[in-house]
């Protein structure tokens, strides 16, 4: 017995572990936080499935055009509005474009727009929210004033006004515009959570150890709001893809002949019951993307939260 009166050690040794925890590693190789999280993530089967689906979608979207018989710009004037066949796997449109080629092209755009917008807007929300909440004072006031201003401004109008200026530029600018108007509500929630986390004793303890503020935010505050951030990011993926559609519909964003999943779905909606393939394939792909992202998000959330019991 190293310390008098200490027998507490036993309970962790016998009954303290949660089921599914890795066996205690030997003393020389202590496992750090990052590796534990990674281990939990890779053990999460559904998350692995989601990740595999996402990777597969990317591969299909970017390598598919090289194997597909038709490109998205080419029209088959012998086949208008044909249902799926061996020639046109997903059928054709009113003007004879191959729906499979269009869907692949749309996936390229939408995957990138969806994921990038989600990551950027949630990242921005996390950054501004924690910064404002943790530091407080005038920084908080200025940032929250900015957030409120952005919330009040009609984002659609701003993007509409700005988009001619960017028309010549890359469509990636569009990604930043979209994310710039998606983060504010989350940012406010993050700030609120940070305000309460800031008073927690483990944050105080870190401060009194001398840990610099940015590291406290990174190590103690962000991980403790990660569940919210991950859920927000997964929702933002579909939100971005859909709002891109509505903007494109009004002539901003992705313009013909280029396509995105959003524009395809918008075009196909009217004929969803008559020429189902026009709608079903792009919509199915969108559902697949959102589902896969959700699975990965769930896995990430469970991996970051040692309390969640995953069955």
């Amino acid at each position: 017995m190293s310390v008098p009166g200490d027998g507490l050690v036993e309970i962790v040794g016998t009954g303290g572990a949660l089921p599914g925890e890795p066996p205690p590693p030997d003393e020389t190789r202590a496992v750090s936080h990052g590796r534990l999280v990674l281990a939990r993530f890779t053990r999460h089967r559904l998350a692995m499935v989601g990740l595999a689906v996402l990777v597969l979608l990317f591969v299909v979207a970017f390598l598919g055009p090289y194997v597909a018989p038709w490109s998205y710009t080419k029209k088959d004037f012998t086949a208008f509005l044909q249902p799926p066949s061996s020639q046109h796997w997903f059928g054709t449109t009113q003007i004879g474009a191959d729906v499979f080629a269009l869907t692949l092209r749309g996936m390229q755009k939408s995957l990138i727009i969806g994921l990038l917008v989600a990551v950027i807007s949630t990242g921005l929300a996390a950054l501004v929210g924690t910064f404002a909440g943790y530091y407080g004072g005038w920084r908080d006031k200025v940032l929250m004033w900015g957030v409120d201003l952005l919330l009040v401004l009609p984002s659609f109008l701003i993007i509409a006004i700005l988009s001619p200026a960017f028309r010549s530029g890359s469509w990636l600018i569009f990604v930043f515009l979209l994310s710039a108007f998606l983060w504010m509500v989350t940012g406010r929630i993050v700030r609120g959570m940070t305000l309460s986390l800031r008073e927690r004793e483990y944050v105080l303890a870190a401060r009194y150890i001398g840990v610099p503020s940015h590291r406290i935010i990174l190590r103690h505050i962000l991980p403790n709001i990660s569940s919210l951030l991950i859920i927000d990011a997964t929702i933002n993926v579909s939100a971005a893809i859909i709002s891109e559609t509505s903007l494109s519909f009004f002539g901003f964003g992705i313009q013909p002949p280029d396509v995105s999943l959003g524009t395809l779905i918008a075009d196909g909606t009217s004929s969803a019951f008559t020429f189902a393939w026009l709608f079903l394939f792009p919509a199915g792909v969108l559902v697949l993307i959102v589902l896969a992202v959700n699975l990965v998000g769930d896995g990430l959330r469970d991996a970051l939260d040692p309390n969640s019991v995953h069955k």
Partner: protein
């Protein structure tokens, strides 16, 4: 009297519980057997104390008696109230009994009252539920009851809402509601745990008055052996859902026959004993009720366990006196040899600190606080904030800590002790006054110097769950201070392992998360983090108050041992005066942002000179029934005044018993002049115009 059901003569059994069993069936997890065969009888006019740690089944058993358990719980056995079987009654029928013949006082008085009704209405409702009386009559009775439990200006205060009442006042209201219908049985579930000692003393007094008024039997559930010592006639000790010892208070306190009871008694520091010897800790933690060990549930922690204890669970059998029974295979042996806690439990040796051998003036200062002030502006208004007042949280506090010593900072909640501690930890220039840490004035520090100084000043917080980041493994938590202060990478993990061993944990615990540890173990992790940088001063904010009694002793011993081994100094902030007496060398008593008495711990505890210190010490219950019965409490009137509007002159005069006894002329200095600290004895100073040492414990 309204609603009187006719008093049961004292001594007749009013509540008979036999073989009560409560099980919470688990779906995928094993069943939780919260209570496993509890039997007791409560007579009218009697106080039965049920003592146990968290998870011992004491609260569940009382909820089962009231029929308040959730529907999923399976309850068997028998609960008879005045001959009527309560188990199996429909909720409607139980409602006839609850509040009328059996009532309950809960621990948390804030959540037990509805915030949107006035206090008077809520008490009146308790009357009207069981009696056909007019609204006016019920209100009149409510005022009468509030007056009975000692609420001043009861008629006016009855129109106030719960949030306008302090914790102690709310608990009085709860008691008023409990006695509204003259019940036969009052169940008190930790009624004073959430309250300060001086308020606790008031509430215990009220409970006794309530019992005199109603002649009810009181079931007092608590973890504090001191509270029941003076109040209870009989005591029942519970462990792992079963009674392990029952008997008269004198039997249980002076002749415990079950090692668990002995351990409990031996592990509590006492306010009335100058103690330098280590406490007697019980090893291990209480078992999980879902996975009880075979045989006697206490055997893994029992120093006396023999083979039999591993296989068969002992029954509660008579030992010694006629009403004394214990559930232990060895209780006969203990009785024959008349063993005490010290004989059964190995007492750890803790050597005296080397630094303490030097006389105090020769030791260097570790912390020197002079005239520390912290005021918070009280703001009002939505858009344009204007200051409407000042909360004087800390108002001119001075003390010093020399190398190798422990200063205990005590006081009731709201006295400013935590603010003082946080002000010191900030290491910044205070609003007024001076904080000098290890010879460096904090007002002149640059950011870099401040970070460097943080190595030497570390903190341990009260709640071991809240002070450890739930998202980080313990190893990373301990590595954080090392990485922050630039420990080379290859030395971080060896040091983490060393720290874990130092506080009695194992290196392989490094990859586990805080929630996989018990409360005591978590607090050890918190202590290890504070030690990581080899500090010279550790500030401890109520480090043991959130822990179970039997765990507490182990942590207190650990703190003492570390202090000696690593020559640390402690600033120990606590409201528990017994722990402070045990661990501190010097003590400072705070009241409303001021230190009212400071000095050597034995000097201050032995002969306190300030009336507040005297009241505080006399309010602390002692786990010694004879002493407790003979003690005379100095009861303070009312609650702590608001620090936004402190009284003139001496801040204590509104509640001061000595002031109350003075005549008009003699009162003048107390009303006009703010007393400063004046020397009373060699190392004792008190801030009172009429300071006079008085022995109270």
């Amino acid at each position: 009297m309204l609603g009187s059901t006719g008093r049961v003569p004292a001594g007749t059994p009013v509540l008979e519980v036999s073989d009560l069993q409560v099980t919470f069936p688990g779906r995928e997890t094993p069943d939780v057997r919260a209570v496993r065969g509890l039997s007791y009888t409560l007579a009218a006019g009697e106080v039965l104390g049920i003592v146990g740690e968290s998870g011992s089944g004491k609260s569940v058993s009382s909820l089962a008696v009231m029929g308040l358990l959730p529907g999923t719980a399976v309850t068997t056995g028998s609960v008879r109230l005045g001959g009527q079987e309560l188990l199996g009654l429909k909720d409607r029928e139980l409602a006839q009994v609850r509040g009328k013949r059996i009532s309950m006082v809960f621990q948390e008085p804030l959540s037990a009252l509805t915030p949107v009704y006035t206090v008077g209405d809520q008490v009146a409702e308790a009357v009207r539920v069981h009696n056909r009386v007019t609204r006016q009559a019920a209100s009149a009775r409510a005022v009468e009851l509030l007056d009975l439990v000692g609420i001043p200006y009861a008629a006016t205060r009855a129109k106030a809402f719960p949030h306008e009442f302090s914790g102690g006042m709310r608990q009085r209201v709860m008691i008023a509601m409990a006695i509204a219908n003259d019940p036969d049985v009052i169940i008190c579930d930790e009624p004073t745990t959430a309250l300060d000692v001086t308020i606790q003393a008031q509430i215990l007094e009220v409970l006794q008055a309530a019992q005199r008024e109603t002649g009810a039997g009181i079931l007092m559930i608590t973890h504090d052996l001191g509270v029941v010592a003076g109040l209870a006639d009989r005591v029942l000790v519970m462990y792992a859902g079963r009674p392990v010892e029952v008997g008269s208070v004198d039997d249980v306190y002076y002749r415990p026959r079950m090692p668990y009871t002995m351990g409990l008694l031996g592990s509590i520091p006492r306010v009335d004993e100058r103690g330098r010897s280590a406490l007697v800790p019980i090893e291990g933690t209480p078992p999980s009720l879902a996975a009880l060990p075979t045989g006697c549930p206490f055997h893994p922690r029992c120093p006396m366990a023999i083979d039999l204890c591993f296989t068969s669970e002992p029954a509660l059998e008579r030992v010694g006196g006629p009403s004394h029974a214990a559930a232990c295979h060895l209780s006969g042996v203990i009785d024959d040899q008349d063993l005490g806690p010290v004989d059964v439990y190995p007492v750890p040796e803790i050597p005296a600190a080397a630094a303490l051998r030097l006389p105090r003036p020769d030791r260097p200062h570790v912390l020197d606080v002079q005239g520390l002030v912290r005021h918070y502006p009280l703001l009002h208004g939505a858009v344009i904030k204007r200051q409407v007042g000042t909360v004087q949280a800390v108002d001119g506090v001075s003390f010093d800590i020399r190398e190798g010593e422990t200063l205990g900072l005590v006081g009731e909640s709201g006295c400013g002790k935590t603010t003082t501690l946080l002000e010191i930890l900030e290491l910044k220039a205070p609003q007024q006054g001076r904080v000098v840490v290890l010879g460096r004035d904090t007002s002149g520090l640059t950011g870099q110097q401040r970070t460097a100084l943080r190595r030497d000043v570390q903190v341990v917080f009260q709640d071991p769950m809240a002070s450890l980041d739930p998202r980080l493994p313990v190893g990373d938590i301990l590595a954080e201070p090392l990485r922050t202060h630039g420990t080379p990478k290859d030395q971080v993990w060896p040091r983490v392992h060393e720290l874990l061993r130092l506080v009695g944990l194992q290196p392989e615990h490094a990859s586990r998360y805080p929630q996989h540890f018990s409360g005591g173990q978590r607090q050890r992790v918190g202590i290890a983090r504070a030690l990581a940088l080899e500090p010279r001063l550790i500030v401890l904010d109520e480090p043991v108050s959130a822990l179970d009694v039997s765990i507490r002793a182990g942590v207190v011993n650990l703190l003492e041992e570390l202090k000696t081994r690593l020559s640390l100094s402690y600033l120990f902030v606590a409201h528990d005066l017994s722990v402070v007496r045990h661990i501190a060398d010097r003590v400072a008593v705070m009241y409303l942002g001021r230190i009212v008495e400071i000095g050597d711990v034995d000097q201050v505890y032995g002969a306190p000179a300030h009336p507040y210190t005297q009241a505080l010490l006399s309010a602390v219950p002692v786990p010694d029934p004879r002493k407790e019965r003979a003690r005379r409490r100095i009861l303070l009137q009312g609650d702590l005044p608001s620090p936004a509007d402190p009284p003139s002159g001496c801040r204590f005069h509104t509640r001061c018993p000595r002031f109350a006894a003075l005549d008009e002329n003699a009162r003048r200095p107390c009303l006009d002049l703010d007393p400063g600290l004046v020397p009373i004895a060699e190392d004792q100073q008190a801030a009172c115009h009429y300071a006079e040492p008085l022995r109270v414990v």
